[in-house]
Symmetry: C2
Subunit: 200 residues, 2 copies
């Protein structure tokens, strides 16, 4: 059995959102499955000295246009959130808490959280909002609100982020296949060819 393909992302990353629509089917075609790993990209960006795309004078305008263009092309819902970027600690912690008990449920939650933020433009910073997103999936609201304040879950997200940085992750989305890194939603084509050929 092959190791899962690792899919790192931040719930506040537009290109993470776009890649999230495709990553499962992209690797499933080659008999592989995906482990989703939300991380705190802010920590990673501090490490690499990078600055947010959106804060760069000319590049920021390009990116806004590109996100709209990609959404139209992929025919996925897109609303540029009024508050962007945001801290996605609550959503990421909720993900890992769900993932420990029921990975399929965590996967559905990830879709719902991405959809709320980038599909509908809802600010998902607050734990209460994250609970609103999870509740229709059958998640106990109070249990979630307790979990995202649980020191063990907080620590879990820190460790996942640290391990991601150690593995060379510096952006979102970021995919690692058997140790081989692929950065960006634009590299799904290369991921497909890599899996098909076994690498080159």
């Amino acid at each position: 059995m092959s190791d899962p393909v690792l899919f790192y992302f931040d719930f506040s990353s537009p290109y993470g959102y776009f890649a999230a629509q495709k990553i499962d089917e992209t690797v499933a075609d080659f008999g592989r499955r995906v482990t989703w790993k939300p991380i705190m990209l802010g920590a990673a960006m501090k490490e690499t000295g990078n600055v947010l795309l959106i804060d760069q004078p000319i590049k920021g305008d390009y990116c806004r246009r590109d996100w709209n263009r990609l959404a139209r092309y992929m025919e996925v819902p897109w609303t540029m959130p009024d508050k962007f970027p945001i801290a996605t600690l609550a959503a990421a912690r909720a993900f890992y808490w769900l993932d420990d008990g029921d990975p399929a449920l965590a996967r559905k939650f990830a879709d719902a959280a991405f959809h709320a933020y980038f599909g509908e433009g809802t600010d998902i910073t607050e734990a209460e909002t994250v609970a609103d997103i999870a509740e229709p999936l059958g998640v106990d609201r109070d249990a979630l609100l307790t979990a995202v304040q649980d020191p063990a879950i907080k620590e879990r997200l820190k460790i996942e982020t640290t391990q991601a940085l150690e593995a060379g992750v510096f952006g979102s989305p970021f995919v690692i296949i058997d140790g081989e890194p692929f950065w960006g939603s634009d590299r799904l084509w290369m991921i497909r060819r890599w899996l098909k050929s076994g690498g080159w």
Copy 2:
């Protein structure tokens, strides 16, 4: 007759080199032609507050790996130059000088300059080296060496770079089709779909 597709690049840009292998055929499939426009990317990067990929701690390592991987995939020559990045003023000026008289010759020169730098790893900073590259194409060596010091040619490159910035160019490669901007060698797929469909 459609306007030409504008292809902006810096001779010191690895992703510019990779896109340069494909841009002509990519747009020719849709009956369009390309105007090649070398620019001084350093000026553009100062404007956007961007920093060189290669200077970013983790991202730099990724890029070196990615350039090797892309070159193997595309089966194009690749040698990481010892001196990187470099100032490509001489090559860019030579290009515009040639382009004014014989665009087809300038196009051949661009291939040869890219090949010298990234295919063979030769430092192409110096005008003498640029003359070495142009001479086998039938270019008069002394005329070239004079041209790259000509105030009018120097000014031409400045103007091309300024106009590129004004058009929203902030990286290399950068393609503009009828006003629509595409950044990065990873967007050849999107350029193809854009030209095929007329945009969306």
